[in-house]
C-alpha cells in the first residue's frame, strides 16, 4: 500500500483493515489500533466465529460477487457494522473493511422506538375515550340541530383519522423493533372486506365518492391475521378515498386463483378513479415516510407510513403487493395472498 493511501487512511476516524482470504490482517489504520489495540487479530477472529466460523466469514466477504457487503454483529456487548468497501486491494485475494462501532446508534434507535411506542400507547387511551364519547353523543343526535350534528360527525371522522395515524406510528415502531407478528387464524375474507367497506362509507359519502364492494360472497377462507388484514385493507381504501376527487369511484374487488374448488391464492384489488401516480413515483410509494403529494386532492396529510405498513403486513402473510396506475385515470393496489400459509412438514422432511 502506498504511503499516500496509508497516510490518508490513518487520518480516518473509523477503523479500516485489509484482510486476506486466509484471515490475516495485512493492513490496519491508526483508528483500528486505537479501537481494538493489540487485540485486533483476536477481535477479527471472534467476529469470524460470531459470523458462523472462519469459513462463513471468508465466504461472506470474498465469495460474494457484489463489490459491497455489510454485516452487523454483536460482540462483547457492543454492536459493530463491518462493511467491505473494496475487493482485492492487494495482489492476493483480500478485502478492505471499514468497521464501525454502532452501539450508541443502535441504543439510540431502540430508545427512540421505545419512546414512540410509549407515547403512542398513551395517546390511544384518551383518543378512545373521545371516540366513545362522540359516538354516544351522535347516537342522541336527534336532539341537536343539523349544524351541530354535522359538526359532531366531522369530529367523529377526524378522531377516527387521528386514531389511524397513531396506530400507524405504533405499527411502524413495532416493525422497526421486530415485534410485528402475525397471529394466524382462519380469515373469512368476504366478511372482512364487507366490514372494511362499510366502516369507510361515511368518509366516502362525505367526500362525494362512491365506494363499492365489487366481489362475490363465495370467497375462500384463508389463513392469516383478521386484524392485520383488515387494517391493510382499510388502509388501502382510505388511501384510495384520499386521492379520489368528488364524483369518483373506489371499488374493492377480490378473486380466488385459480378459480375452482382448490384456489391457491386470492387477489384483492382496491381501485380508484383518482388522478393516478406518475411512472417515476411508482417505485417509491412503498417507501416509509413517502407522501405522494401530487395525488392528494383534499390536502390531507398522513404519516407517510401507510403503504409501507400494508406491504409489511402483506409480506408477513407470504403475499405480494403491487400497484398499477394510469395518470389521469386511476390507480389500483393489488394484493396477492396465499390461501394457506406454507408450513414446515417435519414428518415429510424426515422421510426425505
Amino acid at each position: 500500500m502506498s504511503n499516500l493511501y496509508a497516510t490518508l487512511l490513518d487520518r480516518l476516524s473509523m477503523p479500516v483493515a485489509v484482510v486476506t482470504a486466509a484471515g490475516d490482517i495485512a493492513y490496519r489504520n491508526r483508528a483500528f489500533d486505537q479501537t481494538f489495540g493489540q487485540d485486533g487479530d483476536d477481535w477479527l477472529r471472534s467476529a469470524a466465529v460470531t459470523l458462523g466460523g472462519e469459513r462463513g466469514w471468508l465466504h461472506g466477504f470474498f465469495a460474494e460477487e457484489q463489490e459491497q457487503h455489510t454485516v452487523e454483529i454483536e460482540l462483547n456487548g457492543r454492536m459493530f457494522r463491518i462493511e467491505k468497501v473494496m475487493s482485492n486491494p492487494l495482489e492476493v485475494p483480500s478485502a478492505a473493511l471499514v468497521i464501525e462501532d454502532v452501539t450508541l446508534h443502535a441504543e439510540a434507535e431502540q430508545a427512540k422506538s421505545d419512546f414512540t411506542s410509549m407515547i403512542v400507547h398513551d395517546l390511544r387511551g384518551p383518543l378512545s375515550g373521545i371516540q366513545a364519547a362522540l359516538e354516544f353523543v351522535l347516537s342522541e343526535s336527534a336532539r341537536f340541530g343539523p349544524m351541530h350534528e354535522d359538526l359532531l360527525k366531522e369530529a367523529s371522522l377526524e378522531s377516527t383519522r387521528m386514531m389511524g395515524l397513531v396506530s400507524e406510528i405504533l405499527d411502524f415502531s413495532k416493525i422497526q423493533s421486530g415485534k410485528f407478528e402475525v397471529d394466524y387464524q382462519t380469515v373469512m375474507l368476504t366478511s372482512i372486506l364487507k366490514r372494511s367497506v362499510k366502516s369507510l362509507q361515511p368518509i366516502a359519502g362525505r367526500d362525494g365518492v362512491q365506494l363499492f364492494s365489487a366481489h362475490g360472497s363465495d370467497l375462500p377462507a384463508i389463513e392469516g391475521s383478521p386484524e392485520k388484514l383488515t387494517q391493510a385493507i382499510i388502509n388501502l381504501i382510505s388511501n384510495a378515498l384520499k386521492f379520489t376527487p368528488s364524483g369518483g369511484v373506489v371499488s374493492v374487488g377480490c378473486q380466488a386463483l385459480p378459480e375452482g374448488t382448490k384456489p391457491e391464492h386470492v387477489v384483492i384489488t382496491v381501485t380508484d378513479t383518482g388522478i393516478g401516480i406518475a411512472e417515476e413515483e411508482l417505485g417509491k410509494i412503498f417507501d416509509r415516510y413517502e407522501q405522494s403529494a401530487s395525488r392528494s386532492v383534499r390536502g390531507e396529510s398522513g404519516t407517510g407510513l401507510g403503504l409501507y405498513i400494508v406491504q409489511e403486513i402483506v409480506e408477513a402473510h407470504g403475499g405480494a403487493l403491487e400497484v398499477s396506475s394510469v395518470p389521469g385515470i386511476g390507480t389500483s393496489m393489488i394484493v396477492r395472498l396465499p390461501v394457506r400459509q406454507p408450513t414446515w412438514d417435519l414428518g415429510e422432511s424426515l422421510l426425505g
Binding site: 369511484v249 398499477s324 389521469g328
Partner: protein
C-alpha cells in the same frame, strides 16, 4: 401504454384488449390492476351518464328488432329482462341480484353494445 390505448381506442376497446391479455397471463398482477382501473372508469362514466342512477334505460330499437344478434352472457341477459322502460337505474340496482358495481358495469356494457339506450 394503457393511457395511449385509451387515447386511441377508447376505454372499452382498451379494457377488452386487456381482458384478453389477462386470460393468457393470469399471474400478472399489474395487468389485473389495469383491468380494474378501466372497469372503475367505465362505472364512473355510467354513473355520470345515468345522472347518478336517475335515468331510465330502455331497450334499443336494434335490440327489439333482432335481439339474436346480441351475444349476451347470463348476467347481461338477466338485467335486460328487468329493463322495461319504466325502472330507473337506481331501482334496477335495488332489484338486481348482483352487487351494485357489477350491475352498473353490466348496464355500461349493455349501453356500449347498443342493447339498451338512455333518453336524450
Amino acid at each position: 401504454m394503457v393511457a395511449a390505448g385509451i387515447k386511441h381506442s377508447g376505454v372499452w376497446a382498451t379494457w377488452l384488449h386487456l381482458i384478453e391479455a389477462r386470460t393468457d397471463h393470469s399471474d400478472d398482477l399489474s395487468l389485473r390492476g389495469y383491468c380494474e382501473i378501466l372497469r372503475n372508469q367505465i362505472v364512473r362514466e355510467v354513473v355520470v351518464r345515468t345522472q347518478s342512477g336517475l335515468a331510465i334505460p330502455a331497450l334499443s330499437k336494434a335490440f327489439l328488432d333482432d335481439y339474436s344478434r346480441f351475444t349476451l352472457n347470463a348476467q347481461e341477459g338477466y338485467l335486460v329482462s328487468l329493463i322495461d322502460g319504466q325502472m330507473s337505474v337506481e331501482n334496477l340496482l335495488k332489484v338486481s341480484p348482483f352487487d351494485p358495481f357489477s350491475t352498473l358495469f353490466t348496464v355500461a356494457k349493455l349501453l356500449y353494445v347498443g342493447a339498451i339506450e338512455l333518453p336524450e
